[in-house]
Point group: C2
Chain length 271, copies 2
Amino acid sequence: MKPILLTLITLMTLGSCRTNPSEVIGEAQPLSIYKDHLYQYSIIDALLAGVFEGELTISELKTKGDFGIGTFNNLDGEMIVVDGKVLKMRYNGEIVEVGGDEKTPLAYVKFFQADTSFVLHGPNFTFEELKERLAPYLNSNEIYAIRLKGNFDRVDARSVAPIPKPYPELADYLASGGQTSFTFKETSGTCIGFIAPEFTAQVNIPGYHLHFIDDDRENGGHVFGFQADSLSVEIDRIQGFIVDMNSHPDFRTIDLQKNRKKELEVVEQKQ
Amino acid sequence: MKPILLTLITLMTLGSCRTNPSEVIGEAQPLSIYKDHLYQYSIIDALLAGVFEGELTISELKTKGDFGIGTFNNLDGEMIVVDGKVLKMRYNGEIVEVGGDEKTPLAYVKFFQADTSFVLHGPNFTFEELKERLAPYLNSNEIYAIRLKGNFDRVDARSVAPIPKPYPELADYLASGGQTSFTFKETSGTCIGFIAPEFTAQVNIPGYHLHFIDDDRENGGHVFGFQADSLSVEIDRIQGFIVDMNSHPDFRTIDLQKNRKKELEVVEQKQ
């Protein structure tokens, strides 16, 4: 084959590949095999223990999913990833789209693809009642991503306030005024999050974990509870999960031996 | 460009790509970003609870790592993945290379790349003494793959016997004669396995978990303990882990709510 043709073929070949062959080890397969996986950076117990910094940038996070939840370094607000945008819902109510260079100490994202969709009609139901009504659709040994859209009579939410080092434990910080509670009334918006089984404890948050944002992208936060009359429900059963270790030095020195189950319950609920 | 040339380029392009672009979602990246990750199929608590079948074939498992441990469907022996070969170490002492169509209910593999290598000299030390001596090289919040090679004065190991359905819980089965214990003396071989932090409990096996095989590939099993005088130690610090859910129907109906920490301790040790 003539050199110019070979070069052309080589260039086209390289250009159309997403994999740099020199980086591939063994029979490594394309990432597409993990397209139905939850990606998480760090673990919930590290955040509970006070590791409020991570090394993953928002740019990198966006390559792992277009849907999800988390927080930011220094605990600067609740994260919601909605339609591929990473939004910060701050303790003062402000909501901003986040720059690619910011970092997260904890995030859970996925490329959302609903397997089951339906409308859950009222009369008026609470978050707890929704959980009961969705139970027949869920298996307690599986992981799900869930999206709820519609009109809410009321959403109880919170956001966290940034804090400089040295960091306290999360439950202590929230109990001592590190969070702001919001009540949004007669609002239209989206709850985004995950439902995780008990066996993911310490790594993920067993049960439901939702963040809310309204349609105008003006109000939102971590969901404590809500009342709704009719919601579209989309459930994405997840094939597995990927955990990236937090490479920040704090992660290596923190005590992760403690059982933080009760702390997690306190942190997840309105106090 | 002439049609024949275009076809040639297209064929070469397809042949050299590991990614099918139609399967890629969003800004998905090549698998090489997960090249330093532990891959695991199913979770330890499912095996403890009696889920002795999985849907992952050995062919598929080999694409996830060239190094690792696990077991086979129906609990037919201990698995060791050494230099890319998947070997079955049966309860009757037989060791065979496993066909690609066989399946596993639980396996942990990685493409092994040592970050730290050294020789641990005697005098004669036990597995427990080795753990003490390696402690300064390890962080209790990190995951490691580990390979130990050399001459062993003694290795205490076991393998499990296959069992038909209905499956008992693992601890009950092993206590009632479901395992064979071996003592190998004056042998030369390799221990392969992982060191996992406490926070991976229920999913992985906290602490050390090693399988042994001798250089002649004639003796091996799950390691209870050993005595050695000098071993080469290779440690591979792992950046994260990927968990694939077991898609076998048994996984969806088993009780994974129970705390099986004590059962795991019993199962891991010589009885």
